[in-house]
C-alpha cells in the first residue's frame, strides 16, 4: 500500500517536472524568437526573404544588408546609413552618463551624511522627478533649449538627459550611502577631514558597486531614449533610435527588411552587450530603479 502511493506520487512528480520544463522552454522560445528572426533576416537577400519565411535558414549568408544599414541606407532624406547616428548616440550617452552619475553621487552623499533641516523633504520632492511622464515637461524644455540656443544640438540632448536622469542617480547613491555607517564620517571629521576629503577618500572608494549599477542604468536609459531624441534632435544630431525609426517607417519604395533588421540589431547591440557583460548589475539597476520608478 505505502509503496504504491509512493510510486504513484513519484510518477506524478515526474510528470509535473516534465510539464514545468515544457512551459519554461516554450516561454524561452517566445522570448528568443524575435532575436532569432532579426538575426536570420539580416543575413538574407530580399529574394530569400520573399521565397522563405521568418524562421527559414538563409540559403546563403550575405552581409550586404549590414554594410548597407551601416553606411548607405536612407533615413529620411539622407542616405548615409546609421553610422553617424550611432556615434551621435555615443556622444550623447558618454558625457550625460558620467555627469549625471557624478552629481548623483555628490547628492546622495549630502542627503545621507550631511542632512539638514528640510533635506528629507527636498529628497522627496526630487524623487517625484522619477515618476513624471516626460510629456508634461516637453513643451517648456523645447522653449528653453530654443532660448539657450541648444535646440537641435548634441549639447542640448546631453543637458536634458542630465536633468532628468539626476533624480534616479541621486536615488541610487542615496540608498547605497544610507547603509554606510555614519561613524565612519564622524571619525574622519575628528581626524580633521573636510567635506570633500571625506567624499573622495572614504565614500567614493567604496562606491564601486553602486557606480557600476548607476552607469549601466543611465547608459541603457539614455541609449534607448526616443522621446527626447525625436523632439530635441534634428537631422545631424539625432540619436540612433530616431534614425532607426526613420529608416523603418519613412523609407519609400521597396521595404528592405533585411536592412531594417540589421539596423535594429546595430541600434540594440550596445545595450545588449551591457546586459550580457554585466547582467547581474543590470538586474540590480532595474530593481533598484523600480523601487521608485
Amino acid at each position: 500500500m505505502v509503496n504504491q502511493t509512493a510510486q504513484s506520487s513519484m510518477n506524478w512528480s515526474r510528470i509535473n517536472r516534465g510539464l514545468i520544463y515544457a512551459v519554461l522552454l516554450t516561454a524561452a522560445l517566445f522570448y528568443l524568437l524575435p532575436l532569432v528572426v532579426m538575426v536570420l533576416t539580416s543575413f538574407k537577400t530580399m529574394d530569400d526573404i520573399r521565397s522563405g519565411n521568418l524562421i527559414s535558414w538563409p540559403t546563403e549568408f550575405v552581409f550586404d544588408a549590414w554594410s548597407k544599414a551601416w553606411s548607405s541606407a536612407c533615413t529620411g532624406i539622407r542616405c548615409e546609413g546609421v553610422e553617424g547616428y550611432f556615434w551621435n548616440s555615443v556622444q550623447i550617452v558618454v558625457p550625460a552618463v558620467l555627469i549625471s552619475t557624478f552629481l548623483g553621487a555628490l547628492n546622495g552623499y549630502v542627503f545621507t551624511k550631511w542632512k539638514f533641516r528640510g533635506s528629507e523633504l527636498f529628497f522627496g520632492l526630487l524623487l517625484f522627478g522619477c515618476f513624471i511622464p516626460f510629456q508634461v515637461v516637453l513643451l517648456p524644455m523645447a522653449q528653453t533649449l530654443g532660448l539657450l540656443g541648444l535646440a537641435n544640438t548634441t549639447a542640448g540632448l546631453v543637458f536634458v538627459h542630465i536633468v532628468y536622469g539626476m533624480a534616479f542617480t541621486t536615488l541610487f547613491f542615496r540608498n547605497f550611502y544610507i547603509n554606510i555607517p555614519g561613524e565612519l564620517v564622524k571619525a574622519a571629521q575628528l581626524d580633521g577631514a573636510g567635506f570633500f576629503t571625506i567624499f573622495w577618500r572614504i565614500l567614493l572608494p567604496i562606491s564601486g558597486p553602486i557606480i557600476v549599477v548607476t552607469i549601466i542604468w543611465q547608459t541603457t536609459q539614455i541609449w534607448n531614449d526616443f522621446l527626447f531624441g525625436v523632439v530635441y534632435g534634428s537631422g545631424d544630431t539625432q540619436p540612433i533610435t530616431v534614425a532607426l525609426n526613420n529608416l523603418v517607417n519613412t523609407s519609400t519604395g521597396v521595404k528592405e527588411y533585411n536592412v531594417h533588421m540589421a539596423a535594429a540589431i546595430i541600434a540594440g547591440l550596445p545595450t545588449l552587450l551591457v546586459y550580457v557583460l554585466a547582467g547581474k548589475y543590470f538586474v540590480r539597476g532595474l530593481t533598484a530603479g523600480s523601487v521608485k520608478g
Binding site: V37, N53, N224, N245, Y257, A264, L272
Partner: protein
C-alpha cells in the same frame, strides 16, 4: 610663526572654515535644487499655464480657461487614445503580472540551467522599444511574417493581419510590450519568492499542507508588495508608452492605435496645437498621480507602522 602671533586671526580663519563647512553641503545641493524647481515643478506649472491658453504653432499667453480641456473631451481622437490606453494598459499589466508570477514560481522549483533561462527571459528589457517594435512589426507583417510561417506549415488559409486591422492593431502592441517587460516582472517575483522565510513553508509542510495549498495560502499572499510595485511600474510604462507605438504602428491604421503619449506628441509638435497638447500632458500627469498617490500613501503609512 604667523598663526601663533595672531591668535584672533586663526580663530577668524577657523570661523570662516567652519562657516564654509556648514554651508558646503547646501551649496553642493543648490544646483540640483534649482534644477529641480525649474525643470520639474516650474515646467509642470508652465505646461499647466500653456494648457489654459489658445497656443497653436507658437505658445501664446491669451487665456481661454479650461477650453482646451473641453475640446479634448470632445475630440474623438483623444477619446480613442484614452480607450486604447485602457485596453492596452489593462491587458499589458494583467498578462505581465500573470506571466511573471507563473514563470517565477516555475523557475523557483530547483530548475537546472536556471541562470541561462533567466537570462533569456530578461534580455528584451535591455533593448529599446524602437528596436523591439521594429522586430515585432516585421514578425507581424501580413504576408511575410508569422502568417507565412503558419501557411508554410500547411495551413493555407491561416490569416494573421492584426497589425493592419484597425480593430485588432492595439492588441499587437500588447504582444510586443508583454514580450519586452514580462521577464522583468518575473525577476521581481523571483526575488520576492527567494525572500520568503523557508521555515514557514516547512512548518506548513509538516502540518500536511499540499504544495498548491501552500502557494495559495502562504506564498502568494506574502508576495503582495511585489504585486503592488510591479503594478505601479507597469502602469507607469503603459502611460508613457510612445516609442513602441511609433515603431510598430505609428498610431495607425488611421489613429486606431493612438495613445495619450502619441496624441500629445502629434498635437504639440506636428499639428501645431500646443494648447491642446499641453492639456493632454496635464491629464497624463493626472493619470500618473492618481495611481501614485494612493501607493505612496500606503507605502509611507506602512513604513511608519513598521
Amino acid at each position: 610663526m604667523g598663526a601663533h602671533d595672531r591668535p584672533e586671526a586663526t580663530a577668524k580663519a577657523k570661523g570662516g572654515l567652519a562657516w564654509l563647512e556648514r554651508w558646503l553641503p547646501k551649496m553642493v545641493l543648490a544646483p540640483t535644487f534649482v534644477m529641480m524647481l525649474v525643470f520639474i515643478y516650474g515646467y509642470i506649472i508652465w505646461t499647466a499655464v500653456l494648457s489654459m491658453t489658445n497656443s497653436r504653432f507658437l505658445p501664446s499667453y491669451d487665456f481661454v480657461g479650461l477650453l482646451q480641456f473641453e475640446k479634448l473631451f470632445e475630440n474623438d481622437r483623444w477619446l480613442v487614445a484614452c480607450t486604447n490606453l485602457g485596453i492596452f494598459g489593462g491587458l499589458f499589466i494583467l498578462v505581465c503580472l500573470a506571466l511573471g508570477v507563473t514563470l517565477a514560481i516555475l523557475l523557483d522549483q530547483k530548475i537546472r540551467q536556471e541562470g541561462a533561462i533567466r537570462t533569456v527571459y530578461l534580455y528584451p528589457m535591455a533593448l529599446s522599444f524602437i528596436v523591439t517594435g521594429t522586430a515585432w512589426k516585421w514578425m507581424l507583417n501580413p504576408g511575410l511574417g508569422l502568417e507565412k510561417v503558419v501557411r508554410d506549415l500547411g495551413f493555407e488559409s491561416f490569416s494573421f493581419d492584426w497589425i493592419v486591422d484597425p480593430d485588432m492593431a492595439i492588441y499587437t502592441l500588447v504582444i510586443a510590450a508583454v514580450w519586452q517587460s514580462s521577464g522583468f516582472v518575473m525577476a521581481m517575483f523571483l526575488a520576492g519568492l527567494r525572500g520568503i522565510d523557508n521555515s514557514i513553508i516547512q512548518a506548513a509542510q509538516i502540518d500536511g499542507a499540499t504544495l498548491p495549498k501552500i502557494y495559495r495560502r502562504i506564498i502568494l499572499p506574502s508576495l503582495r508588495p511585489v504585486f503592488f510595485s510591479a503594478f505601479i511600474i507597469l502602469s507607469h510604462i503603459a502611460i508613457k508608452s510612445f516609442d513602441l507605438v511609433a515603431a510598430m504602428t505609428g498610431g495607425g491604421p488611421g489613429y486606431s492605435t493612438d495613445l495619450p503619449a502619441t496624441f500629445m506628441y502629434a498635437h504639440s509638435f506636428t499639428r501645431s496645437q500646443i494648447g491642446l497638447g499641453a492639456a493632454s500632458a496635464m491629464l497624463m500627469l493626472g493619470g500618473v498621480l492618481a495611481i501614485l498617490i494612493p501607493y505612496l500613501y500606503s507605502e509611507l503609512r506602512g513604513s511608519r507602522n513598521g
